[in-house]
Amino acid sequence: MHNLSVAQISQGLSKGEFSSVEITQHFLDRIHQLDSSINAYITKLDESALAAAQQADKQIAAGQANPLTGIPFAHKDIFCAQGVKTTCGSRMLENFISPYDATVVANLKQAGAICLGKTNMDEFAMGSSTETSYFGKTMNPWDLETVPGGSSGGSAAAVAARLAPIATATDTGGSIRQPASLCGITGLKPTYGRVSRWGMIAFASSMDQAGPMGKSAEDCALLLQAMASFDSKDSTSIDHLVPDYSANLNAPLEGLRVGVPKEFFEQGLDPQIAAQVHNALAEYEKLGATLIDIELPNSKLAVPTYYVLAPAEASANLSRFDGVRYGHRCENPSDLMDMYCRSREEGFGEEVKRRIMIGTYVLSAGYYDAYFRKAQQVRRLIKNDFDRAFEKVDIIAGPTCPSTAFKFGAKTDNPVEMYLEDIYTISVNLAGLPGMSLPCGQIDVMPVGLQLIGKHFDESLILNAAHMFQQATDWHTLAPAFADNTSEANGGAS
């Protein structure tokens, strides 16, 4: 049952092969049985999930089902959900019960989907391994000694371990694509402004973007359909028609021009990954696409550019955590300043504090032009590279990450090394483009991800390209042995 696609679950529900309550209970049982080994969830929502599933069953019986009605899923714990603990992976929000729903949360409720729980993440989405969460690390289901990637490591691990069919996630510098790559699943970061940021706890507002994770491009298309909307509550939401993301999945790729940036095959790429990605590119040629060499010369500056701009925006966004209106407050503050400084010392973890301080530094008097303005200028050069490339190609393809999942602790003492995990993903956020990761191989059982990058609002095309690859290959169907590590008999339809 837990290996079914969203469309298969939907079909099973409409045919009455199983009810939403049954499939929801199936996933909740798996979570209770398996999650203690991987810690993908911060909060489990059995009661509200089953109540929502009952409602969904009524809707299905009444013939009023949407594509996601009665489909279980998980939310990254960055989305505010009314009456539910929303921690963002931080001690600062350990006891925060959101008084309202994020737009993404409201959209999925409206679609009739069933939220199983809230998933673990790097604190305030700052990290590439989910090791910075206050609620403990998440294990990669393919090898419990390695990281699932981050920041959306909980959502990626939950989908990989079949503890949720699909999950929401967010991506500021690679936080959907890198964990999708490391956990062997499919994840899409949409165009900046495509999905509302309202109620999504802010990290770097000019790059934050929510998107879907699933076992396939087909499932991601269905989840994105429900997540995407123009939202007047998000001042950077873009009023652009939301197309039917499933409509063109099967369009032939004959004549598709695929750009291959040479820079993505330098910069410390594991040669075994390069080989797997080249195999995937060869598959695209078989599907009728043409490979075209392109150059993104300024992409080598993406990581330094990001580590000026993202911390600067974070330092401003996280100034709201002052221990007054919500969030952690220290014991017995002697005065206001002591309250601010100790509440933030205790409430934030090391990585978050580091980024706030870097942001404070690059925005401070005397350094603003040398750092912040300079980085904003280089950001435009990076975007211009993509604009030029897209004059001669339709999509861009390359590796998602320079290596497969690494061991816990391998990069925690060296922030710069951790930051280089996102070397191929960050430029996409700086340019605001849609980007996707899909499984395209394995090295010693560990998954390898292929990254596809599209033009602004070209989600349909990259979903199409990903889906056609998944029709021709079976990497996305592989599940870690951990997912079958239960004594239970598989339920009905699986």
Binding site: F96, I97, P99, Y192, S206, M207, S232, S235, T236, S237, I238, L301, P304, Y307, V308, S315, S319, D322, G323, V324, R325, Y326, G327, H328, R329, P333, S334, D335, L336, D338, M339, Y340, C341, R342, R344, E345, K353, R354, I356, M357, T360, Y361, S364, A370, Y371, K374, Q377, V378, R379, R380, L381, K383, N414, P415, V416, Y419, L430, G432, L433, H456
Partner: protein, 95 residues
């Protein structure tokens, strides 16, 4: 560029984050390493390049200034660490 511990102490105060003496050496080193990384930008010629704040150079959307929310004080204040009679409590500010 090299950072001194005193720079970090000043920065921590600006950011309203207390840093203990035992941590300050490591914090200084690790922030220094990140600043070395971002210093790569200095070599790039950006003469005449317009700074980019938004991926699509969009500007803020404006909406009519209308009342859309009702008073939800109790609910909104329920997460506050200390309140009294609908007010947030903070340490004494004025003697």
């Amino acid at each position: 560029m090299s950072l001194e511990r005193t720079d970090i102490e000043k920065l921590a105060l600006l950011a309203r984050i207390n840093i203990s003496d035992s941590e300050s050496q490591q914090v200084t080193e690790r922030i220094g390493a990140v600043l070395n990384l971002v210093d790569q930008l200095q070599a790039q010629d950006t003469e005449g390049v317009e700074p980019m704040a938004h991926p699509m150079d969009a500007t803020q959307i404006l909406r009519a200034d209308e009342v859309t929310e009702s008073n939800d004080r109790e609910n909104l204040m329920s997460n506050a660490p200390a309140t009294e009679e609908g007010l947030f409590l903070v340490p004494k500010v004025i003697e």
